[in-house]
Every structure is written in C-alpha cells, then in structure tokens.
C-alpha cells in the first residue's frame, strides 16, 4: 500500500486544514472584491479626501508584503496593549469564544488577523484592476446613461460596476488565484489551514517529502479548480451581459 503513511487521524487533520483553506479563501476573496471595488470607485471620486484615502490604502497595502501585514495584525498588534487588556481584547472575549465555539479554532484571533491582512492586501490590487477596467469603458456608454437621466448610483450600478468588472475580470481572476496561494502564508501566523496542518503532520511523522508533495498536489488541484470556477463565472457573466443589452433595448423601444 503506497499511501499507508497517511493514517486516519492525519487525514482528518489535513481535511480540517483543507476546509479552513477553502473557507478562508472564499470569505477573504469575496470581501477583498467588495473592498477593492469600493476603493477603486473611491479613487475615481472628485472629492480629494475620498480619493486620497483610497490612494493611501492602495499604495500601502500593495507595496508591503502580505506576510509583513499578517505579522503586524496577528503578532504585533496585541503587543501594543498592556497585558491586562490583551487577553480580554484578543484572546478571550464573547465574540472570539463564539467563533471558536462553532469553528473549533482554539485561537480564532490569529485566523481573523490573517484574514484581515489578506483582504487588505488583495483588495489593494483589485482596486487598481477595477479602476483600470472602468477606465476602459467606452465614453459613449457613460454619456448614454447620463443622457437617459441615470442618477450617479444608477450609472455606477448599471454601467461602471458590470462593465468595469467584466473588462477587468481576466486580471482579477489571476489575482484571486494568487490570493488562494497567499492564504498559505497564514500558516506562519498560527492559522491551522492546509499548509499548517501539513507541517503539523510532518512534525508528528517526520515524513517531510511525502506530506509536502501531497500538499503540493492538493494546492495545484485547488488552483486548477478555482481557476475553472472563475472561468465559469466569467462565461456566465459575459453571456448574460451580451444577451442583456439588445434585449433591454428591444423591450424599451416596443413600449
């Protein structure tokens, strides 16, 4: 049996890690997309303060390594507070106990901190991509929406958001796959995700090569599946977009 080093409790450990990796990736990617679109839109604003806020966010979080951001949030931030508050704020309060209650994480703050750092880092990249996507929208579309009397919210919701995302989607999906790989960095700040559980398995069995190769295969499959999912989303989206435009026009002229 070639896989007899993979005992049942180790498999269980790895599967738990895999689940956390998938959940962490999904949650942080979704949040990062929302924050990124918001920041990208804020960068287009004429208001200097709003614009500056977005620029600062993007430049800081794009030019610092994700690992540094994670360590600052996870390890450095709690040290800012005196010992008597630290425990209550970061490790033992009702909210964190509630999280560890249903998720089974023993120290949920580290996972949260890693998630925050990941969201900040990826959203900075996504903001730039979304801004570039909006920049590529033909001026006529924006003019047409304005002529038809669209409010600013409608202009954003019906033109800038769908068309900007659609144009930027190939670049966004590349970045999101990179984001999936970046979640492995969370292992460094004591988040028990897949790479961390693989390392735990290695310290228990001393079978470094076996578990690392297994982890490599799993990450490749994850990246493959994720890119397939993103391609599917893109296809659905593009098809819906191209179908929608002539239909709504025909509908409106008929009325």
């Amino acid at each position: 049996m070639p896989l007899d080093w993979l005992t049942q409790d180790l498999l269980y450990l790895l599967l738990r890690g895999l689940l956390l990796t998938v959940v962490l990736t999904a949650a942080t990617a979704g949040l990062a997309l929302a924050v990124g679109v918001a920041a990208g839109t804020m960068r287009l604003s004429a208001n200097r303060f709003v614009h500056g806020l977005a620029v600062v966010h993007v430049e800081i979080h794009r030019n610092m390594p994700a690992l540094v951001l994670m360590i600052i949030w996870a390890f450095a931030l709690p040290n800012l507070f005196p010992a008597e508050f630290r425990r209550g704020l970061f490790f033992d309060n009702a909210f964190l106990n509630w999280i560890s209650g249903w998720s089974g994480l023993s120290l949920p703050y580290y996972t949260l901190a890693a998630g925050i750092a990941l969201v900040l880092n990826t959203s900075a990249y996504l903001a730039e991509l979304f801004r570039a996507g909006v920049g590529a929208i033909p001026q006529q579309h924006v003019d047409a929406a304005r002529t038809l009397g669209a409010s600013r919210l409608e202009l954003f919701r019906r033109v800038l958001l769908p068309e900007g995302l659609r144009t930027a989607f190939p670049a966004i999906s590349t970045r999101l796959i990179h984001h999936l790989k970046n979640t492995a960095l969370a292992a460094f700040v004591a988040t028990p995700e897949f790479f961390h559980s693989a390392q735990t398995a290695i310290t228990r069995t001393f079978l470094a090569l076996e578990f690392l190769l297994l982890a490599a295969v799993v990450y490749l499959l994850l990246a493959f599946a994720f890119s397939g999912l993103l391609r599917w989303v893109e296809k659905q989206w593009l098809a819906a977009g191209s179908r929608q435009t002539p239909l709504t026009t025909a509908h409106q002229t008929n009325e």
Partner: protein
Amino acid sequence: MNDHLSFLIEKLPILLFGFPGQRPGGLTLSLILAVVAVAVGFCLAMPVSSAERAGWRPLRWCAVAYVEVFRGLPLILLLVLVHQGLGGVRFGLNWSPRMSALVALILYSSAYQAEILRAGLSTVPVELVESARLMGSRPRQVYLLIKLRYALRVMLPAFTGQAISLFKDTSVVVVIGVAEVMTVARMALGADVTNARYWVTMYSFVGVLYFVIAFGLSRLSQRWEQRSRQPDLVHSFFSY
C-alpha cells in the same frame, strides 16, 4: 516614543546589513536574493518559453507543466519543499537555507517570467521575423535581435511588476530561516518579554523598508516605460 526610536536606531545596522558574523544579511540579502532570482530566472525563462511554443509535443507539455506547477504552488510551500525535500539530507545535498531559498525563488520567478515572455513572443509580428530571415540572419540572431528585443519592449511593464513582486515575496524565506530582513527583525525582537512593546514599531519599520523600495522601484519603472515608449513600437517596426 523616544525609546522606540532609539531601539530602531540601535537595530538599524543589522536590519540593513545583517548580523556581523553572517553578512550580507538583512535588507541587502533580500535585494540580492531578488536580483539573482530575477536574473537567473530570466535565463531559465528563455528556453522554457521557447519550449512552450515548440512543435514537438512532449517538449511543449513538459514546459507547460513546469510553468503551471511552479506558478500554481504557494511560494511558502515551494521553499519548504526545496529545503526539506529536494535539498534535504535524503538526496545527500544538504543545502543551506540560503541556497534552498535561492533555488526556490529562481524556480518561482522563472515560471512567471516564462509566462510573460511567451505572451510577449506571441505578439512579435511575423513580417518582422520573416524579413529578418530574408536578410540572411541566423536563427540565433533572429531570436536575440528581433524576437527577444520586441517581446521585452512590449512586456516591460509586466517584467518590472514581476520583479518588484518577487522582491516583496522574498519576505517569505523567513520560514526556512534565511537571515534576510524579516528574519533579522524577528531575531532582534527575540523572545524577550520586555521587547513586546517594540513589536509594532519593528514590523511597521520593516514594512516601511519594503514599501520604500517597492514604491520607489514602481515609480522608477513607470518613468522608464514612459521614456522608452516615445519611439513608438509601430514606428520602430516600420523603420527597423
């Protein structure tokens, strides 16, 4: 506030240049790792990207697999895999952490650069290559003087972006204990409890160091692109 500043000033030399016994270290080592990985990675990317466009299928599949594998793995995993797996005692190599880090970074950056180069090579106009051949250029001349030159120009923003990104990624080598700036910061803080209040200062400062270099380089490359774009590509194509 004052003690935070004096703590940083006290640790600044080792952050920049590493611990006295093992220089180069610190930020210098981060830069060296990034530069070597980009340079050697580019040398590897040239044959790989050509193999990706080769006519013989097995060769093409190998090249595609190379790129997909090293681009698809998280760098942190690749580093540990190279250090404990490939370069470990099992194969009798017993690489130092520094060597393993360099190998992993080279593999990682070569895969990314091969992908960029492939995209660049596919934009080279056929007419350009054919006219060079008609003029009697040898294949090596066509590759170096026409294809590579054109691809580099078109893909310059992607290459500089990748290099800057790789510089930031060198922070990950802390997992195998290479004495670059992250590891130095970690060791300078140590396990001393009285240092706990310096943690934020220290890591923010490390973040600022990365920020200054990455931001500066990206601004510099933007300027460079603007300057090199002035003689337009189409123009250089016709007046070649």
